[in-house]
């Protein structure tokens, strides 16, 4: 998609480009949130990431059937990843991988460390039951 220069000034052009990118991101943000509330457990992952694999294994091992969105197979994956980064509040920390990110019951839980913390402290299972992802 190309942008149209509305004013001869380069700054204005840059600004309008930025605005479009932002809106694209926000679109994706909405999309992410929309996707997240479509199922009880939603995982945003990258197919080759081993931590994502670990998370998928964890949930499947508990008997949960999570909905997985592979960002590397989505055309707008990059934007979605950026949106997720903003949701998580990582900000400047770009070295850490964003994914996997999990939403339970439409609400953001977070990255693998949050999930494990909840699980060990025994609060993950009730959360899953509440969201309807686990029965008994």
């Amino acid at each position: 998609m190309h942008y149209q220069v509305e004013s001869p000034s380069a700054a204005a052009a840059a600004w309008s480009y930025l605005m479009r990118v932002r809106s694209m991101e926000e679109d994706q943000m909405e999309r992410v949130v929309r996707l997240a509330s479509q199922s009880a457990v939603v995982i945003f992952s990258v197919s080759s990431c081993c931590m994502c694999h670990a998370m998928k294994t964890l949930f499947c091992g508990m008997g949960v059937n999570p909905t997985v969105h592979e960002l590397d197979q989505d055309p707008k994956g990059k934007d979605m990843e950026r949106a997720l980064m903003r949701l998580l509040g990582n900000g400047i920390n770009t070295t850490a991988a964003t994914v996997p990110v999990v939403f339970i019951g439409g609400k953001l839980v977070g990255s693998m460390d949050r999930v494990l913390a909840f699980h060990i402290s025994g609060t993950l299972v009730p959360l899953l039951k509440q969201a309807g992802a686990l029965w008994l």
Partner: protein, 458 residues
């Protein structure tokens, strides 16, 4: 006494000799261990009274017919030092034969330092004392003949007699033979001593070298703050630095746990116990922090677990003990548990196990990825033209290896959460006991490692 006219069993003769010595030692402290001869007293007590009077060397007449005419004077001088030299300075060899027997016996009886190997010690002590009261017959003495000369000092007359070549009597022959044996033994002893000293010197040199190497390694960019409270900065040689830090951590950990043990046994209040338990947990966090730093410097070293003792390394999972395993160990020592606590422990075990399995699968996925990436295309002999592929492969693999750090960190976090949850489920006292039990187990693994490493090898 008459029983001794015939050849008595040598042990008896032995006793006699010892007695004689003791008799003469009345005025001084026995230095060379003849006090052990005390237990020979019982069999020869009778002689004691007579012992001093060696003129009744009828005892010695056992072996030799001639005698001791001159023996009295030697015994007089014997009173100064019961060194072998003096004994040796027996007249005419009768004393010598007695001594010879003593030597032989000495080898068998270990309480007496009469073994051949100790002869020169005797000689040494003998010399020291002899010099105080000597005749000056010591002018031309070479070391080998020291012993003989000692004898010579005190009973020069006797020695002269024994060395008198013109009239070689059987006793002299025996004397000569004994003296030669003495010499040999002394020589061997000296050689052994020399070899030992040489070995010590070599070890010392090696030690100095090792210390220098250690110093150099320390200076090559490893700066470790000595204050325990301030952070330890480890830069440079990551593996070595981590190992050193870990060693410090273990010492500190043992100290903390000993304090905890004392507290548990001393019926301290729960509040104070809680403070100690929190301290131990904070110390564990310190370890995780060190491991994070170490992983950044050398992740494969941390992953390998080689910084622990060999047996511990066997139990390593992603750089540490499995929480589920530790829980299994302490579970039995936690009685009595309430229903709720039991439930909590079971849940903790299950969730730990599930999390560990998940991380294991993650690690498997990493391995699988490396296999697929590095084995795809251009593995055949025709490798040219695919440099780009090769570079791509390497780039992908490098990126993947970066994920190892994340896995290791999650494993440590698991352990942290486990410790936290344990504190939540159990009472303070139970938690303290759990930590102690856990540490006892690990200490035993370390002890096992030490034993194994120190076992005698064929």
């Amino acid at each position: 006494m008459q029983g001794f006219k015939t050849a008595p069993p040598s042990s008896q003769l032995y006793c006699h000799s010892s007695f004689l010595l003791r008799g003469n030692d009345g005025n001084r402290n026995p230095t060379t261990g003849f006090c052990d001869l005390g237990d020979l007293h019982h069999s020869s007590a009778v002689f004691h009274q007579d012992g001093v009077d060696l003129g009744s060397s009828s005892m010695f007449s056992v072996k030799s017919s001639n005698v001791v005419g001159g023996s009295n004077m030697q015994y007089g001088t014997l009173s100064t030092n019961v060194g072998s030299s003096e004994i040796g300075s027996g007249g005419g060899g009768c004393m010598d034969t007695g001594l010879q027997l003593m030597y032989h016996k000495g080898v068998a009886m270990q309480t007496l330092p009469l073994g051949n190997g100790h002869v020169d010690n005797w000689a040494d002590s003998g010399i020291a004392d002899n010099s105080q009261q000597t005749d000056d017959t010591s002018t031309d003495i070479d070391t080998d003949d020291r012993i003989q000369c000692n004898r010579g000092k005190n009973g020069s007359r006797m020695v002269m007699q024994s060395k008198d070549q013109t009239k070689i009597k059987p006793e002299d022959q025996k004397t000569l033979r004994r003296l030669a044996q003495n010499r040999e033994a002394a020589k061997k002893s000296r050689l052994r001593k020399k070899a030992y000293v040489q070995q010590l010197e070599n070890s010392r040199v090696k030690l100095v070298q090792l210390e220098q190497e250690l110093q150099r390694a320390r200076q090559q960019g490893i700066f470790i703050a000595t204050e325990g409270n301030q952070g330890h900065l480890a830069v440079g040689n990551g593996a070595l630095a981590f190992d050193l830090e870990y060693a410090h951590w273990v010492e500190e950990h043992q100290r903390l746990l000993n304090d905890l043990r004392l507290a548990v046994n001393s019926q301290m209040s729960d509040d104070e116990l809680h403070i100690l338990v929190e301290g131990v947990r904070a110390h564990y966090n310190e370890l995780f922090r060190l491991k994070r730093i170490g992983a950044k410097a050398d992740i494969f070293h941390i992953l390998s677990g080689m910084w622990k003792t060999p047996v511990e390394t066997r139990f390593m999972w992603l750089g540490g003990f499995r929480s589920s395993e530790l829980l299994k160990i302490i579970k039995n020592h936690l009685e009595p548990l309430t229903e709720q606590q039991l439930l909590g422990i079971c849940n903790l075990q299950q969730s730990s196990l599930q999390s560990e399995d998940a991380l294991d699968k993650g690690m498997e996925a990493l391995h699988q990825y490396l296999v697929e990436t590095l084995s795809s295309t251009s593995l055949g002999p025709n490798g040219n033209g695919n440099v780009a592929d090769y570079m791509d492969q390497m780039a992908l693999a490098m990126a993947k290896l970066g994920e190892l750090e994340g896995l290791l960190q999650q494993a440590d976090l698991l352990k942290q959460h486990y410790l936290q949850q344990l504190q939540r489920i159990l009472t303070v006292r139970q938690t303290a006991r759990a930590l102690l039990v856990q540490n006892d187990f690990i200490s035993r693994l370390r002890a096992l490692s030490s034993l194994w490493l120190a076992r005698p090898k064929e």
